[in-house]
C-alpha cells in the first residue's frame, strides 16, 4: 500500500514548478487576457514534454500515466497556465500532431462557443462525428468572457472532411479512446482547479499575515482564520480523490468513471469555496483587476463548470451508487 505520488511524479512537478516560475508569471497570464496565445510559454511547455505527457515514448511522448498527469497539471494550475493545456495533453495520444508546443488543441463538446478556440491551432470537434479542425482554415470569432484568457470562440460552419491525414485513431473504433479522453480531461480540470485553489490560498496567507488593521495583522482574527481553515479542509480532502481517480484510470478500474466524477465534484466545490474565502479575506484589494488574485479566481469560476458542473458529477455518482445498491 502506498497512497500518493511516486518520487518520479514529485520530481516532475518540482521540475515544472521551476520552469513555470519564470515562464508563466502573472504578467504572462495577463498577456493572455489581451488575446496573446503565449507562444513562448507553450514552446517552453513543449520542450518540457508536457503536451506529450500521455503519448507513448515510441511516438515521441513521455509515456507517463494519469498520476504524473495530475501532478503536473495541478502545478500548472498554481501558475494559471493560459491555453488549452489539459485538452492538448489528453487529445495528443489520439492524434499525429507535433508535441513541441506549436500545437494547441481545444475540444468542442457542446453547441456553445468553444473554450480556448480563439488561441488554439486546432479544435477536436466531438459534437457529431468526431473531427479534427485546423483553425487556420476556418474563422474563429472571439466571444467575451469573464476570464478573458479563456478565449472562447465560435467557429464558422465546420468544414467537412477534416478527420484527415494527421488523425490516427479517429478513423478506427474511437468510442473507447474518446471516453478515455473525456475522463482524463475532466480529471485534469479537477487537478488544475486544486492548483488554482492552492495559489489563491498562498496569496491570501501571505496577504493576511502582512496587512495590518487595528494594530495587528488581519490574519490574527479568527473571523479571517476560520473560513480559510474550512476552505483548506475542503481542498485537502479533494486532492486524494483526484489521486485515486488518476490511479483508477491508470489501472483500468471499472469504477474509474465514478471516481473521476467524485474528483471533479469535490474539486469544483472546494476550489470555488476557496475563491470566495480568499476574496473576502483580502478586502477591496482582491476586488480589483490590478491585483493578481482575480486571475486565479476567474479561472476557478470558469473551470468549476467546465467539463461538467459539480452538480452534474454528483448526479453521475448518484446513478452509479443506485445501480450498485440495486445489484
Amino acid at each position: 500500500m502506498y497512497f500518493g505520488l511516486s518520487d518520479d511524479a514529485l520530481a516532475l512537478r518540482e521540475g515544472l514548478r521551476e520552469v513555470l516560475s519564470s515562464a508563466c508569471t502573472p504578467a504572462v497570464v495577463r498577456s493572455a487576457w489581451d488575446g496573446d496565445p503565449c507562444e513562448p510559454l507553450w514552446k517552453t511547455l513543449g520542450s518540457f514534454g508536457l503536451p506529450g505527457l500521455l503519448v507513448p515514448e515510441d511516438r515521441g511522448g513521455l509515456g507517463l500515466d494519469e498520476l504524473s498527469f495530475v501532478a503536473a497539471v495541478e502545478e500548472a494550475g498554481w501558475h494559471g497556465v493560459p491555453g488549452p493545456l489539459v485538452e492538448t495533453i489528453v487529445s495528443a495520444p489520439l492524434l499525429d500532431l507535433p508535441l513541441d508546443g506549436s500545437v494547441r488543441i481545444a475540444v468542442a463538446r457542446s453547441s456553445g462557443p468553444v473554450p480556448w478556440a480563439a488561441v488554439s491551432t486546432h479544435v477536436l470537434d466531438l459534437r457529431d462525428e468526431p473531427a479534427l479542425v485546423d483553425l487556420s482554415s476556418v474563422e474563429v470569432t472571439a466571444v467575451p468572457t469573464v476570464d478573458r484568457s479563456r478565449a472562447l470562440g465560435s467557429i464558422s460552419e465546420s468544414p467537412v472532411g477534416h478527420a484527415g491525414a494527421s488523425d490516427r485513431q479517429l478513423r478506427d473504433d474511437h468510442t473507447t479512446a474518446l471516453a478515455l479522453l473525456e475522463l482524463r480531461a475532466t480529471l485534469g480540470t479537477a487537478a488544475f482547479l486544486l492548483g488554482l485553489a492552492r495559489r489563491q490560498l498562498d496569496l491570501t496567507v501571505a496577504y493576511v499575515k502582512d496587512r495590518q488593521q487595528f494594530g495587528v495583522p488581519v490574519g490574527s482574527f479568527q473571523a479571517v482564520k476560520h473560513p480559510i481553515a474550512n476552505a483548506v479542509v475542503d481542498t485537502e480532502f479533494a486532492w486524494p480523490a483526484v489521486l485515486r481517480a488518476a490511479y483508477s484510470l491508470s489501472t483500468n478500474d471499472p469504477a474509474a468513471a465514478m471516481h473521476v466524477s467524485m474528483a471533479k465534484a469535490l474539486a469544483s466545490d472546494a476550489a470555488y469555496r476557496m475563491s470566495r474565502v480568499c476574496l473576502q479575506a483580502h478586502g477591496a484589494i482582491g476586488y480589483t483587476v490590478e491585483y493578481d488574485l482575480h486571475l486565479f479566481t476567474k479561472r476557478t469560476w470558469a473551470l468549476a463548470n467546465d467539463w461538467d458542473t459539480a452538480a452534474e458529477h454528483r448526479a453521475a455518482v448518484a446513478r452509479a451508487l443506485l445501480e450498485r445498491t440495486a445489484s
Binding site: M1, F3, K209, I228, V232, L321, T325
Partner: protein, 377 residues
C-alpha cells in the same frame, strides 16, 4: 501509488471478517453509555480479547497481533461493516495506550497494557474541569508532593469524564508545581478510581444516557509509579494523547463508510427524490474522501512527509461528516425521525463531535496557525 492489498493484508482482513461474521451479536447491544449496556459491552470486549482481536496493532506480548497500520485500517473497516458494538474501552486502548507506548516505563507498560487489553482495567480521560475546557492549561487540580510517603496527593475536580462512572481508572493532568503557570509544571497521572478520597458521580448526556461523570479528588495519595512521562512533563505527554484523539486512531474511516452503507440501504427502502439522491452521492463521496485522506496521510507519515496540525484536519472533517450523515438519515426518515432508534441516537451523539476532542473552533485555530502559519492573537 499502489492500492492493492498485499497477501498478508488480505489474509488478515479475511480472518477478521470471518471471525466477526461468526461472533458479532445478532441484535445490537443496548447503549454502552448506560450501566447495563456497559456490562454487556465488557463481555464483548473480553470475547474480542480472547480471540486476540481487541488490540490488533499492539505487540503480541500484550495481547495484540503486531498488525501494521494498513492491517489495522482493514480490521476497523471490517469491524464497522459487521456492525460490531461500540468500543467502550476506546479511551484506554486508543488514547492512553499510544501514550504509554511512547512515554511509559517498561514496568508501567507491563503492568497496565495487558489489563487494559483484556478490559479488566477500564480507563477514562481526566482533562476537563469546571473552569478549564478549551483552555486546558488553566486547570487547577493539584498534585502536592509527599516526600515522606514517596508519592503525590491529588485534589481538585474533573468533569465531562466519558463513562467515568463505569470505569476503574482515570488518566489526567494535575498541576504539580504550585508556582507554575499555564503549560508548565503539569504532570500526567494514572489513578485508580477506588483510591481513598476519589468520588465519582455519573450524569446524563444530551441523549439521556449516563455517559458523563464528575470526578472529585480529595487528598488522594498515589505513588511515584503513577506518573507517566516525568514530573512537569504533563503537557507534552497529554498532547500526544490528544493527537490520537483527533486523528486516525479514534475515528477510523471504516466507521463512516459503514454509516454510509447503512444510509444507502435506508434510502433504498424508501422513495427518495433527486435532492436526496444528490445528498446521498455527496455523503458517499465525503466518507470516501475521508478514507482516501487517511490513506494519503499514513503514506505521507511513513515517508517522513507528515505536517504539523494535520490531525486537526481529520477532526474537523470526521466530526462534521458524521453530523451530515445523520441529518440526511433523519430527513429520509421524515416523521419517524423523532422516534428513539439508532439514527436519532447517532444524530445526538454526532452533535458532540465538534465539541469533544478539542472543539472545532480550536481545531480551526490550529489549522490556521500551525499548518498555514497565520499569526496567533
Amino acid at each position: 501509488m499502489d492500492l492493492t492489498e498485499t497477501t498478508d493484508e488480505a489474509a488478515f482482513r479475511d480472518e477478521a471478517r470471518a471471525w466477526l461474521d461468526a461472533n458479532v451479536p445478532a441484535a445490537p447491544l443496548p447503549s454502552g453509555d448506560t450501566r447495563e449496556g456497559f456490562a454487556l459491552h465488557l463481555e464483548w470486549e473480553r470475547r474480542l480479547f480472547e480471540a486476540r482481536w481487541a488490540v490488533v496493532s499492539w505487540p503480541a506480548a500484550y495481547g495484540g497481533r503486531d498488525a501494521s497500520v494498513w492491517q489495522w485500517l482493514a480490521f476497523e473497516e471490517e469491524y464497522y461493516r459487521a456492525g460490531a458494538p461500540q468500543r467502550v474501552t476506546q479511551n484506554g486502548i486508543f488514547l492512553l495506550a499510544p501514550t504509554l507506548f511512547a512515554f511509559g516505563t517498561q514496568e508501567q507498560q507491563d503492568a497496565l497494557l495487558p489489563r487494559m487489553a483484556s478490559a479488566q482495567d477500564l480507563w477514562c480521560q481526566g482533562w476537563s474541569e469546571p473552569g478549564a475546557g478549551s483552555d486546558l492549561a488553566s486547570l487547577t487540580s493539584r498534585a502536592l508532593r509527599d516526600e515522606a510517603a514517596g508519592g503525590w496527593r491529588l485534589s481538585g475536580q474533573k468533569t465531562w469524564t466519558t463513562r467515568g462512572a463505569f470505569c476503574t481508572h482515570i488518566f489526567g493532568l494535575f498541576r504539580s508545581d504550585p508556582s507554575s503557570q499555564r503549560h508548565h509544571g503539569l504532570t500526567y497521572f494514572l489513578v485508580p478510581l477506588d483510591a481513598p478520597g476519589v468520588t465519582v458521580r455519573g450524569f446524563a448526556r444530551l441523549d439521556g444516557d449516563e455517559g458523563f461523570a464528575e470526578v472529585w479528588f480529595d487528598d488522594v495519595f498515589i505513588p511515584d509509579s503513577a506518573v507517566l512521562g516525568g514530573v512537569g512533563e504533563g503537557w507534552k505527554v497529554a498532547m500526544a494523547t490528544t493527537g490520537s484523539e483527533r486523528g486516525l486512531s479514534l475515528r477510523s474511516p471504516g466507521r463512516y463508510t459503514a454509516t454510509v452503507d447503512r444510509l444507502l440501504r435506508l434510502a433504498a427502502s424508501r422513495d427518495v427524490d433527486a435532492t436526496v439522491e444528490s445528498r446521498l452521492a455527496q455523503a458517499w463521496m465525503d466518507a470516501e474522501a475521508y478514507r482516501l485522506f487517511t490513506l494519503r496521510q499514513v503514506s505521507a507519515e511513513q515517508a517522513g512527509r507528515g505536517r504539523p496540525g494535520e490531525s486537526s484536519l481529520n477532526k474537523l472533517f470526521w466530526s462534521e461528516l458524521d453530523i451530515r450523515l445523520h441529518e440526511l438519515a433523519l430527513d429520509i426518515l421524515g416523521p419517524e425521525a423523532e422516534l428513539e432508534g439508532p439514527w436519532s441516537k447517532g444524530f445526538q451523539f454526532s452533535l458532540s463531535g465538534p465539541i469533544y476532542a478539542g472543539t472545532n473552533e480550536v481545531q480551526r485555530n490550529i489549522v490556521a496557525e500551525r499548518l498555514l502559519g497565520l499569526p496567533r492573537k
